[in-house]
Symmetry: C2
Subunit: 491 residues, 2 copies
């Protein structure tokens, strides 16, 4: 609290790391690459979970839970998926420790407790889930099977960053099975819409919906749909993916069903997920040099009331504050009254700014006598004087305004940082200048995509669904192109 | 569905396993000892989670999340805790797979990707959490620290059983830190009360609250409090534990704070947990030879409506059923209308009985014309005719009655299966007869406790808090005793 945050303009990366830690969202643990999600950060994640879970249930999904471990023989069954995750997975090889004969008081792996088959800590659960679906699906009557799981997964990333890239992270993974390709595709697109709606209405993060190129596709998928957000430093962030798996996993695990005509067919699959990475997106999209700026819908505390008083006055003041507090709570607004007598108001203001509480109300005796309150909004830092009598309605409206304003601000930013370019020269200039999405024609080959990545560090974030087909010329090779791609440097 | 369940009286153990699988609660996975929690089972677990989480929050706790892995050096820091869990822990030794040069298409552990320090998959999180608390706690102002975590844990059990004993299970673990022993003890007891209230009011499971003997204490605790339920086969089941850790973990991880007098002291700790084991308790305490009997408060579906109709009538019938359905939903009752036209009513009745839905309403055209409905309660299998006009109130009341009846029935069972004995002879007779809790004097030594266990397979479930001090004589050694213990064979 004592030191101010690094400035975004000076060191965006340092600003992010410091903010995440100082606002009490998360910190690094003593386990390489694994984070501790602190109570304030976890409270935001819980709100995300609750909201998404309700959305999943409204679209007909049920939760279940599958094992943390994947036996190696299942892990390797779907070849592309295995290849995609083999290089970064944690492997359990033993099931017991024993006293180390050479080091008193220390333990070592018991060499006699080696597993016959290694277990992979799940980096994603397609393998274990599809091996289970084999027994759950016999007939078309068992379909569609619409399952979601909230779980932890592990990917042994070498360079990690709080929330954005961690060895262990929390997520949800939907795994569905369908009788036809059309149904599976419809499900894939439906969940993309659910994610987009969640991102825009709750995170206040405008997203580009699109399809990944082959290079960026999920290992084992036929098609990967994604939502891509833009951060304040002009870098893109993939905020959710929804995969059409075709019959890949059904074939790898021999999941067949008898259709209405009595014939045996392989099942069609999807999978889709969002993770604690969304916490990183939330921080990077909206926050400022004073701290977090949280969208009211996800803020654990929506309103903080700070009593301003002289010694001896607190009791009396608190008695007058309580009815207002109750009124707000009854309206479904979460309120914190910061009545600590160990800190001064200025310190409290700075602390709640750092924590991103959307609305702050300072209440002194004189305000109450005048029938007015000093209300400050976190997003614009605007201060206003509002009548006490109507404070519940005013704050309710203000929270809605803030939610909308944060979204609009992010949308304006994205619109100002989305540039359609016609040459490679211009492409590079924009990337090295203001950054953001660069929308350009390319010839559709992996070679060109990789060349651009090597030369500029920009990747194709997606082929946006909203981008119409259009005759054009590849900015690199001059070959014909039928559609523009969204390029960006990305997290 | 086709085959009837094994009978409890013939093979209780088989009955349990079959019921858990057939009712769609859980099944074994292809990973040794790990289960798949199926949607219907998970829906019950979600209700348990939501309820407990609310109770934890009302008692001032916040959720957070700590890493899945514990580095070996932290794992071994608290010696007794390490010793207690070393023999049954999954150990990650490598972080990468590679193509197996000898077996095309297969993978093997990459020998060049060996971790410098092994990681233990958490069997419980005291070590990783207390190593974190070291940085969170400096002053008395940082205390109490009241944190809970919902997580998966792994204990490499050799003999496993769905829900009751699995290699991976889901649980919550509270970890709190306090300035004084008194406060920590008060927290330990408070959480025991929370668990007891949850067990009795939600699971409808009467529990004995008590303290474990040293033999049965949590590894690393000074005192372990527990709640013990009784299953229908006369075996006890530990349903939750709350540990007073003293300063053991604070000392092992050097967690100190400056007290109000400016002196440095070690912090006092507690930890407490319940797990998916509660699912096993729920099944074994109440269910019968037809299937599950779920307490209404935890039933994912509280009322099932089965339309009884002739071909062509369904549409019309459904239109008349809808207002009733809506009325029940508005009252906060979860309702399923089973309008499948592929199954006959008798099949549906049996299926919902198997799944333990507390109330079943069969609705035919004639019933509607008469203004009455046929209502069946799952717990007593009683059928009644109730007026349609008041059905919402009747069903609401009936659900409350069922909740109470299930509890009372379990309480009666426990009272009839709790026997105070005065001799070892009688002790064995009761155990081999009706079973249940045997309340007896013993001399308070571990030797006697172990001898009884060896000779009878009964363990001391707890020294019950409700059991007054009383002069007596050990049933085995004849030595003096001041207090009776609750013995039982147990899960």
């Amino acid at each position: 609290m004592s030191k101010s945050l690094p400035k975004r303009s000076e060191d965006y990366s340092l600003w992010y790391n410091e903010l995440v830690k100082r606002a009490g969202l998360a910190e690094n643990s003593s386990v390489r690459g694994c984070m501790v999600i602190k109570p304030y950060g976890y409270a935001i994640w819980e709100k995300m979970q609750r909201t998404l879970d309700d959305m999943f249930k409204r679209t007909g999904h049920q939760n279940a839970y599958f094992p943390l471990f994947v036996p190696k023989s299942l892990f390797e069954a779907e070849e592309k998926n295995a290849e995609g995750f083999a290089k970064e997975c944690a492997v359990v090889t033993h099931y017991r420790l024993q006293n180390d004969p050479d080091k008193p008081g220390k333990l070592r792996v018991d060499p006699n407790a080696k597993l016959e088959e290694e277990l992979i800590v799940r980096p994603t659960s397609e393998a274990i889930i599809w091996s289970t679906y084999k027994n759950w699906i016999q007939s078309y009557r068992d379909l569609p099977l619409l399952i979601n799981q909230w779980a932890n997964v592990v990917r042994w990333e070498m360079r990690t960053r709080l929330f954005l890239r961690t060895a262990e992270f929390l997520w949800q993974e939907g795994h569905t099975a369908h009788a036809t390709a059309e149904e599976a595709l419809a499900e894939t697109r439906q969940m993309l819409e659910v994610y987009a709606q969640f991102a825009e209405e709750w995170l206040a993060l405008p997203v580009v919906k699109g399809v990944k190129t082959e290079n960026e596709r999920f290992a084992g998928a036929i098609e990967t749909y994604c939502i891509e957000g833009l951060m304040q430093d002009g870098k893109a962030l993939q905020a959710g993916t929804s995969h059409f798996l075709g019959q890949n996993f059904a074939k790898a695990f021999d999941v067949q069903f008898t259709n209405k005509a009595g014939q045996l067919e392989h099942v069609w699959g999807t999978s889709w997920g969002v993770s604690t990475r969304l916490m990183g997106a939330l921080v990077m999209a909206h926050s400022d040099d004073e701290g977090l700026v949280l969208p009211p819908k996800l803020a654990p505390i929506q309103v903080v009331i700070v009593p301003i008083y002289k010694t001896g006055q607190l009791e009396e003041l608190m008695e007058r504050i309580r009815p207002m507090q109750m009124g707000l709570i009854e309206r479904g607004i979460s309120v914190k009254v910061d009545d600590r007598d160990t800190e001064r108001p200025g310190f409290k203001f700075a602390e709640w700014e750092l924590k991103g509480v959307p609305v702050r109300i300072a209440v002194g005796m004189r305000d109450l006598e005048n029938g007015t309150l000093e209300v400050a909004r976190r997003d614009t830092k605007e201060k206003m004087t509002l009548p006490l009598a109507d404070i519940v309605n005013s704050v309710d409206q203000l929270l809605q305004d803030i939610q909308q304003n944060i979204y609009r601000r992010a949308l304006n930013f994205r619109e100002n940082h989305t540039t359609r370019v016609e040459s490679y020269e211009e492409f590079k200039q924009v990337l090295d200048g203001k950054g953001g999405f660069v929308v350009a024609h390319y010839d559709g080959t992996s070679e060109t995509e990789e060349r651009i990545k090597e030369e500029t560090k920009a990747t194709i974030r997606c082929l946006a669904l909203a981008e119409a087909e259009e005759e054009g010329i590849c900015i690199v090779t001059g070959r014909p192109s039928k559609r523009r791609a969204h390029f960006a440097r990305a997290y």
